[in-house]
Amino acid sequence: MKKGIALVVLTILFAWQMVSSYAIQRFPKPEFESGYITPETLLPTPRAEILEVMDVAVLLLALSVVTWAVLKRRSRNLVFWISIFSLAYFGFYREGCVCSIGSIQNVTLAIFAGSYVIPWTVLVFFLSPLVYTLLFGRTFCAGVCPFGAFQDLVSWRPQKIGTRLNAVLGVIPYIYLGLAVLYAATATDFIICRYDPFIGIFRFDALFSMFIFGGILLLCGVFIARPYCRFLCPYGVLLNWISRFSKYHMTITPSICVECRLCEDSCPYESIEKPVTVKNPESRKMVVRKFILIMLLIPFFMLLGGWTGSQIHESLAKVNGKVRMADELLHPEKIQAEPESIEMTAFKASGKSVKELYNEASRILRQFYIGGWILGGFIGLTIGGLLAGRLITRYRTDFEPNRGTCYSCSRCVDYCPIKS
């Protein structure tokens, strides 16, 4: 039934975008015989402030309603319909912008580049899901994020891929987050937006390769639920951390778990923790050994990662337009066959001297050297932390959602026989 609804919804949303793409003007313009004069082409005006307020109001309302649906109504159906609304509004109507995922870069740029003033709406889109997550878990992912909703709609035959593979692929969002912050902090690029797989589909306008990438994610999403959320989303990393401390996180059962195991396989994201009873408590000696190992493991990986990051900082910096241009000027033989880049044309027209460019590139390279240490250290910390996490045994008596990775989608709730 839901699959049918999803197909109908997607057909309607795509048709909506298709209709707007027919409105492309061709040359020459038609000469109307009724005397109608075609208006001048105008540059799009900034979005009216009242509409920006509406976006924020819709975000907060959607967050509140989905949180109520998850925690109070405990209704998967309601979450599903809210996610369809979010996909239509934040995805196809607002065309994926502004989005909380990309707002990480705006916040980073605002922190590191003094001249950049972050729009208040972007700040609200960044902060409000984090605040809701701190209080109620990842209800934003459940039904407000259009990316999550899009993938949820096509998650028709989800298969489990196993804890280990989940953990390995789960490192990618941390690397992506680190890179996104590094490139935003150095005012290099907003890579989250550049490689946004769904925005091109929402707008019906993207590089062909990004259409393909978006299509691959949706195709994978049929069998591996929410691949972008689980293995790429950098905002998900922040939500994962914060959700672990959430005060009122969703529970599978509203009362005492009877361990009927009906919910055991209900989660397509493999986020249900099975009970671990205290049958064989670890000896004190074992606990101390594990603690020492963790204390050694994490700094080791951080240092290794940091050193590696510092060694590849020049490669990382090549993404920066100024560094790349300075490199092209230093090694003109590399680009003989290429047409002159648009950045190079702009630089030559600016009247700046090559020495100024080299100085600037050198300053950016220094930033990348420090950034390389921090990025590598962060990735090392992540890997070390994940390994350490596997060494720690957590005891629980009930089937519980993993507070970090659970998207609060409420699928498992439907399986629980205890309804009140």
């Binding site: 020459p28 990438f213 994978c220």
Partner: protein, 327 residues
């Protein structure tokens, strides 16, 4: 087993997608440097060689410093005009004669009695092949830019790109009527001429054909200005015309087919009288990039005479498989 295969395939696809991001971010320099707004025609310049039905058999340089117009007479003599003069060549390319004048002629046609019709930028001249002026007159507007002349033996038709209109004169230069002015009641759409490429010619039934280049259309008129028919297709493919204003010039084959030349994507093509694309005469790679104003003429042996203003050459094309020596 099937489930495992699905998971493995999906994972490979996912990892390939992520791999693409990494390669594009760190190793694809051109992707980041290319101007996404560049108006690139290189892909469109590629053409299927099997569509080329003509071969170039000869080319020779023009003696004028700038060339703009070419015509042929019934004896297959070739007339070339441009800056300050006219040159007359034999069918084989030997210069027979030449004469000069102080102006620049932008178009030329040969009348049935062997005289020359020349369109200067702001006036018309009728001259003998020896250069003697028989008649001379100016259009009424100072904004006129004359780009093409033709005659059906009785009247003279002049294309004015400045005023976006065609004038019909008698042989003394008396204006008889204007052709092509927008008239919705008569179904005349009006000429859209964004640049000074506005050609006209006479069809095999003495109808006047005019290129409405901004609309990528050929329009046929009777001498009284009534519209007979139109054809044309806007397309970036070889079968149509594209850009702001194409085709830039044309000539007629004896069976009523059209030989067209384009700028932007420099090429010469043949269309059937019905307007269907037939073949290529010369592909874009046979011209220097940027060549504009390729004028055309067809002689009585159906040879296509191409005036290449960039190379300052007269280039002669015949159908593949036809032996020029026999002719």
């Amino acid at each position: 087993m099937k489930q495992q295969l699905i998971i493995i395939t999906a994972l490979i696809l996912l990892i390939a997608g992520i791999g693409y991001l990494v390669i594009d971010l760190f190793y694809s320099e051109s992707g980041a440097s290319d101007n996404p707004y560049a108006y690139g025609l290189n892909e469109l310049r590629k053409s299927d060689s099997s569509l080329i039905d003509y071969q170039e058999i000869q080319h020779f340089p023009a003696g004028l410093s700038e060339v703009y117009g070419i015509a042929a007479d019934p004896a297959n003599r070739i007339y070339v005009t441009g800056a300050n003069g006219v040159e007359i060549y034999s069918p084989g390319g030997e210069k027979i004669s030449e004469f000069s004048f102080p102006d620049t002629a932008y178009c030329i046609a040969v009348t049935p009695d062997g005289n020359l019709l020349l369109g200067m930028v702001d006036h018309i001249e009728i001259m003998t092949p020896g250069g003697e002026i028989l008649s001379r007159w100016k259009p009424e507007s100072e904004a006129s830019v004359l780009t093409s002349v033709a005659t059906d033996g009785t009247d003279i038709f002049v294309a004015d790109a400045g005023k976006k209109i065609v004038y019909r004169y008698d042989r003394e230069g008396t204006l008889l009527n204007r052709i092509g002015k927008k008239d919705s009641l008569k179904g005349i759409p009006g000429f859209v001429i964004p640049s000074p490429y506005f050609d006209l010619g006479i069809g095999r039934d003495d109808e006047l054909w005019v290129v409405n280049s901004g609309r990528h259309l050929f329009e046929a008129f009777r001498p009284d200005g009534s519209l007979i028919s139109t054809w044309g297709k806007t397309s970036t493919g070889v079968e149509g015309f594209c850009g702001c204003c194409n085709p830039s010039n044309f000539a007629m084959l004896s069976d009523g087919s059209f030989v067209t030349s384009e700028k932007g994507i420099e090429r010469v093509k043949v269309y059937l009288p019905s307007g269907e694309f037939k073949c290529l005469v010369a592909a874009p790679d046979q011209f220097d990039q940027g060549t504009r104003g390729i004028d055309l003429a067809v002689d009585s042996e159906e040879r296509i005479l191409v005036l290449d203003p960039w190379r300052n050459q007269i280039r002669i094309f015949i159908k593949k498989g036809e032996n020029n020596d026999e002719k």
